[in-house]
Amino acid sequence: MNKILVILPNNLGDVIMALPVLEGLKNKDPEVHITFFVETGYEGGLVGTPWCDRIFLFDRKAIRDGARTRNWRGSLDALKTIVEELVRERFRRIINLSQHPYAAYIAGLLSCPQTQGRVFLREGNHAVPDAWSRYLYAIPFGRAYNGLHATDIYRKIAGTADIPVRTPLTVGENEREEAGRFLQSRGIDPAGPPLMVLQPGAAYQAKRWPIEHFAALGRMLLDRGGTIVITGAAAETDSANSLQSLLNGAVVTAGVLSFRETIALLPHASGCVTGDTAIMHATAALGRPVYALFGPTNPVETGPYCPGAWVFSGRCPNRPCFCFECKTRLCMEAITPGDVYRAIREESPANATSDVYRTVVDADGVIRLDPLVGQGRPYYLPAGAALTRRFVDKDYAPEAPPSDGDIEALKNETMIVADAARTMAQSLTEFESTRSPDALRDYEKIRANLSSLSGVGVFWTALLNLRLNGVPLLDPAKGIAESRDLCREMADALTSALSIYP
């Protein structure tokens, strides 16, 4: 049997973002058996999905807490038992989508013949063997040069980008009916006036839309005759109750319904207004209307993954800053209830005080943010993003030649890295023939100098370092030869990628 292990012991939202990968793998080979390695508590997006055959729960916190005590051997034994169980499965392929270093150690322990994503080698270094995983890892170094959603990158890593995404998340008929009965028990007729789901909570302060804004929007919806459900996890009960106290007749499910029961409400709703949360990802994965409010995080990378979603973002000059706490909260404060209300009514966003986007599927099947009102700091530079994508995907050709931004600067900095990589290869060649330490010093010096770049060169340097750091050096001669070839390959690929520009 073709057994695949997908590793992503991350939060609920990340797991839901990976569902299109599972759907693609199953559609490509219906006989494939997929095991999903997920952290305990974050399996809600996987329960009941036809795309996953086994949910492998990993109790990280229990192992962590034990390892922090004098009884650390107990945690070590527990981890060993988990790994032995995974080894017995004899996976043919591992797709490690996690960026946690410990996941790379676990991937290394499984000694699988085919691994995508980060893996720790027995030679003693971390390697990222496939090009799209390296691209994913390079993004934090140069966010302005990526225009792809994380899910689309996951799909490229898994080799399922050519399989259309249709129903990554499903809610069973029984679950839907149960949710309908719940609504009726709280005085809401599922077949009655439009029901809007409001999700005021989010993982941390900077991602939360002000409660007053939620309340103002809620009042507009209630005045129009609508009904409202306020969702949230148990820990978000207080904020949900605060909002309810400002919205007469709204129903709170925070702390009442599980995550799975909550998403079963969504098919009954006309939409969901939410920050960057797991509920946002679930609403999008169910293909329901979503109004996503973005602050410190990046909607290009982790926005709603479905066509037609609305995305709002305040025009903070620092966005996306990824701050957990923010004094000004400008990005979230600047999204007005009126902006969201007009979107719900499908009215023109022309007068919006925040930036407004809708998601569209490009001809090549990737999700893109289409700006309806986009006056704030751009999330990325399309000309640079096209270049980095072309570097990884030799067949990629944008619909129109990139023309925005400073293409000369992109070309120049790309050539600087290409020339540096060539010179590094020459230094290693010289070392191979002369054994001169000076040649190695030259190599290291050129490599270190690349850290002074600030444009797209940062992205290229990250990619080069990811490759070079993954070269085992137990056999130095072999390691030198491999590094030399990688530098040459990198130089050639960079030069070739520039052909994207006319």
Binding site: K61, W72, K80, H100, L109
Partner: protein, 55 residues
């Protein structure tokens, strides 16, 4: 001056992990080595309330 150790982990655990790190790059690591490294890495993972970890 009394110094209160802020790392709650057992010194033996840390010593063994460090020994594996010293081996790293000099000889092939075995399953027990990798398990120890994984366990040590997990011991440093965080929830949002814990801010000292950096991957």
């Amino acid at each position: 001056m009394n110094i209160i150790p802020c790392d709650p982990r057992d010194p033996e655990f840390l010593r063994r992990t460090e020994a594996v790190r010293q081996k790293s790059g000099r000889q092939l690591l075995d399953d027990n080595d990798l398990l120890l490294l994984a366990c040590e890495e997990i011991s440093r993972t965080f929830t949002r309330e814990e801010i000292r970890y950096s991957a």
